[in-house]
């Protein structure tokens, strides 16, 4: 026990407040050091942690000084000890002093904080710009300097999340903090992040990199980070954005410069290969197979894999929309309705495919749809 404490002391000698807190929480700490900042991986994050430690030292000194006086009074100046009250009730000198001294202490806090604010807000001189768009409920990234982009969605299987009856599947170590495609950036470079949103306000933040920036529909904001170490850093959407708020993680994978170059080349080649020919006429089998992928990636969380729906989400099997007029079906997918978000960010091919899949699954037989029809519907809107 003593040895463990000494280890903590050595490691964190400069962080007295953290140490004290750690002693209070030593039992919980044994289960993992999840009680303070994630280890900083950028200069700004380190400065923030430093500011916090500096503040905690001042605060703890004030805390013990002030409450020392109070508890001394509570212990000694009590009636049960026969202490009689001295009815003094003002002292101009001391009242001026305890107004001025705190003001000076604040000045000592404001000065270093201001310089961090200025550094944090200075997004000039970035080597590349990535646009992060918040959707209900995932992130889409565009590498503006390289001309490609992708969506980044929660990779935790629904079965791990749902444990209301069974206790659920056992959970990954990165439960809720894992995505199907990470944001990849090079190490040691200033990366500018532009944030915006498709529907409601989201917030893009990664604690280890010291960034957090709201993503506001209709507006573009920016922030930046420079990761100092290769590795994977995790964050979550931090502005309430509806029912999927807990399920839109942010994962940043920091690669070395050559690895990043190779990754970019791969991505560009891949994007080119994946590009759908807009004039191709698809066969029903092709469309439905492609649609199934789109459905599994985007729709089945709410409408369920069996198309039976759940909660506020209607069943698609045998539904009026999925078996009625195609135009209505396209309209809902493009524009959303009630709790269903608009899916206009999907490509024409993807929308045509998923609609075709929905109209020809779970007993539905309502015909397929070509991408060109979606294109027309989009234009008409």
């Amino acid at each position: 026990m003593r040895g463990a404490v000494m280890k903590v002391v050595r490691r964190q000698r400069r962080e007295l407040p953290v140490l004290l807190l750690s002693l209070c929480a030593s039992k919980v700490m044994a289960a993992g050091e999840f009680w303070t900042f994630t280890p900083p991986a950028s200069q700004i994050a380190r400065q923030i942690e430093g500011l916090h430690s500096y503040l905690m030292i001042i605060i703890l000194i004030i805390f013990f000084a002030v409450f020392g006086v109070m508890f001394y009074a509570i212990v000694r100046h009590r009636k049960s000890l026969g202490h009689t009250a001295k009815p003094f009730h003002e002292n101009t000198t001391i009242e001026i002093l305890w107004t001025l001294i705190p003001a000076l202490i604040l000045l000592g806090m404001a000065w270093p904080a201001a310089s961090v604010v200025l550094a944090q807000k200075d997004s000039r001189g970035a080597v590349m710009t990535i646009k992060a768009t918040g959707f209900q409920w995932f992130w889409a990234y565009e590498y503006l300097d390289f001309g490609f982009g992708f969506k980044s969605k929660l990779a935790t299987p629904q079965a791990q999340i749902d444990n209301h009856h069974t206790g659920g599947e056992s959970k990954n170590p990165h439960y809720l903090l894992e995505v199907d495609r990470e944001l990849v950036v090079p190490v040691g470079q200033k990366i500018r992040i532009l944030t915006t949103a498709n529907d409601v306000i989201h917030s893009w933040g990664v604690p280890a990199l010291g960034v957090k920036q709201d993503a506001i529909p209709g507006f573009i904001r920016d922030t930046w980070f420079k990761a100092e170490k290769v590795g994977t850093y995790r964050g979550q959407c931090v502005e309430l954005c509806g029912k999927g708020h807990a399920f839109m993680p942010i994962v940043v994978k920091v690669l070395s410069e050559p690895d990043f170059k190779r990754w970019i080349a791969d991505q560009q080649a891949h994007a080119k290969a994946m590009q759908d020919d807009p004039n191709k006429v698809w066969s029903a089998v092709e469309l439905i197979a492609r649609g199934r992928q789109v459905y599994e990636a985007n729709c089945q969380t709410c409408h369920q894999p069996n198309g039976k729906g759940g909660g506020p989400f209607p069943a698609l099997a045998g539904s009026k929309v999925a078996t009625g007029a195609k135009a209505d079906h396209v309209h809902i997918v493009l524009n959303g309705k009630n709790a269903m978000p608009a899916w206009s960010s999907l490509s024409d091919v993807e929308i045509a495919a998923v609609i075709s899949y929905e109209r020809n699954s779970w007993g539905n037989q309502a015909g397929i749809l070509q991408p060109s029809e979606v294109k027309t519907a989009r234009g008409a809107k």
């Binding site: 009680w35 009815p87 917030s203 010291g210 957090k212 509806g242």
Partner: protein
């Protein structure tokens, strides 16, 4: 003892010259007596406190383990939203208005509130407002699920539950404004002769400043939600970028209301504590005048710091610095208050009855909340903490340990005056220690969760947050359970307690409310207290020096 006003009260049998003195349900429905209305407010606030508390426990139950156990995420968001709105507008604010109603006329030597019938109206707006909020749970789409801050565009997406909440907020705002008008007029016009503004009890001061804050900002909130309503239904685009509006505009308007609102919930608590600590330290309040100045400076500063709630929306560096510096500055007058309370205790002759325990608990925990507020005021740190559990911990330290503990202190302090009986001291202390311990078990770990980056308002979380969440849930259930003890204590006191209370149950209390019998008769101060009585109280409060000219 010479007290003509009380004697005159006793000359009349009830109903003899007050035709309106009803009994049964009519007494409460048509109530115009400040004591009846105060009682109504307090019971309403308690009912809402229990309702909001049960919602909090539903939230904590879901968060006991990672994964979705009890609620779907949409309903979880409804719970967090309603919990916030109900606790702020249904529990804390009406409780303070109720206290002001009950105690201000007694403390100022006034026969009643200035506008007795408007007082009835301002109370009876509350139950329909609460009903609208609760009904929203059962309409299509459910209750509002956008958080108590109701940020659009999320709130613009919601179902009709949001409209009900908006109307509810309109009613609550109307009620607050009427209550405030009443408080201000009573304080400015109905003080006993010899009680100048700078000589009235500090609870009256903080109530006065709070009432002004409310009149200033309740219409701002009403405006914001009305704009939201027209955005939702009448095609305006105040907050919709597609129509030329700006979602962030709502946040500016909301927090221009919302930050002073924080002090609307904190200032009356300062007033209560400033009455209780001198009583049990048997000493006059230290630094009365600087307390008044501190109250006013906090109120004024509260209008200039709303931007610190929005450090993550992407405001320019200059704006961040402006809001950061002003926010930090609030620590100065708040510090002055804490130092004054401690100086009041210093060299006192203290006893530790339940009201004093809660008052000291308030000073300790509110200071912790103040410190975490100072941490949050530093913009770069706030960038990390924004919308994490650190913020949840911070505002629960100021609102539960601040507002709620001061309310408990006030209830135990004035319960003998209200009921005519003494509460059971042992059970009162048990309630204090139980609340104190479990409050900290519930909310202190949330600081760690926030530092480690757990976002607020999520129904499910990553595995590393499990231990602290489980701990907080255990704490919350114990804390919640303890409040049944509070209810029991109050009911027990109403039904006789441990025996009748004298007019002055506390050795050190000197303000005017202790001059009337316990329980306070239905009508008091029909003629103002005599000047000697007022002066006696003022000397004890150190705001009147013997031989000084009467103002």
């Amino acid at each position: 003892m010479h007290s003509p006003s009380i004697a005159s009260t006793h000359l009349h049998t009830p109903g003899e010259h007050h035709a309106e003195h009803q009994t049964g349900w009519a007494r409460w429905l048509y109530a115009t007596n400040h004591k009846d209305i105060g009682t109504l407010y307090l019971w309403f606030a308690f009912a809402m406190f229990i309702t909001g508390g049960v919602m909090a426990l539903c939230i904590r139950a879901e968060l006991f383990q990672p994964g979705l156990q009890f609620w779907q995420p949409e309903f979880f968001n409804q719970l967090t939203t309603l919990h916030g709105i109900i606790m702020v507008f249904g529990a804390i604010m009406p409780a303070f208005t109720g206290l002001a109603n009950w105690m201000l006329p007694l403390m100022l030597g006034a026969p009643d509130m200035a506008f007795a019938r408007m007082n009835n109206w301002s109370f009876w707006l509350l139950p329909p407002a609460a009903a609208l909020l609760l009904i929203s749970l059962f309409v299509p789409g459910g209750a509002p699920a956008g958080g108590w801050t109701l940020y659009p565009p999320l709130s613009a997406q919601a179902g009709m539950g949001m409209d009900l909440a908006i109307f509810s907020i309109h009613l609550l705002g109307l009620s607050s404004i009427m209550g405030s008008i009443n408080i201000i007029t009573t304080i400015l016009n109905m003080r006993a002769p010899g009680m100048t503004l700078l000589r009235m009890p500090l609870f009256a001061w903080t109530s006065l400043v709070t009432a002004y804050l409310l009149i200033a900002v309740a219409p701002v909130l009403a405006g914001a939600v009305t704009m939201l309503l027209t955005d939702r239904h009448f095609g305006t685009h105040f907050f919709n970028a597609a129509g030329g509006g700006d979602p962030v505009l709502f946040q500016h308007i909301f927090w221009f209301f919302g930050h002073p609102e924080v002090y609307i919930m904190a200032l009356p608590a300062f007033g209560i504590v400033s009455q209780i600590i001198p009583t049990f330290a048997r000493k006059p309040l230290f630094g009365y005048v600087s307390m008044v100045y501190a109250t006013c400076s906090i109120a004024i500063l509260s209008f200039m710091v709303w931007g610190h709630h929005m450090f993550a929306v992407g405001m320019p560096a200059t704006a961040q610095l402006f809001f950061m510096f002003l926010t930090m500055l609030i620590a100065v007058p708040t510090g002055v208050k804490v130092f004054n309370w401690i100086a009041t205790m210093w060299q006192g002759s203290m006893t530790f009855e339940t009201p004093m325990l809660f008052a000291i608990g308030f000073v300790c925990l509110f200071t912790v909340g103040g410190f975490s507020g100072l941490v949050l005021s530093i913009a770069p740190i706030d960038t990390q903490m924004q919308d994490t559990y650190y913020v949840v911990a911070h505002f629960h330290y100021v609102l539960v340990a601040g507002a709620l503990f001061s309310l408990f202190a006030a209830v135990y302090y004035w319960l003998p005056k209200w009921t005519g009986y003494m509460y059971h001291e042992g059970r009162g202390k048990l309630h204090f220690w139980w609340s104190m311990i479990w409050f900290n078990v519930t909310f202190f770990p949330m600081h760690f969760l926030g530092l480690a980056g757990m976002p607020r308002r999520i129904p499910d979380y990553a595995l590393q947050f499990t231990q602290f969440n489980s701990l907080a849930t255990v704490g919350a259930f114990c804390f919640g359970l303890g409040q049944l003890l509070f209810l029991f204590n109050v009911l027990h006191t109403i039904r006789g307690g441990v025996g009748p209370a004298p007019a002055q149950p506390w050795e050190g209390g000197n303000t005017l409310e202790w001059e009337v019998p316990s329980p306070a008769p239905h009508h008091t101060w029909e003629s103002p207290p005599d000047i000697a009585m007022v002066r006696r109280g003022l000397i004890a409060q150190a705001v009147y020096h013997e031989g000084e000219d009467e103002a």
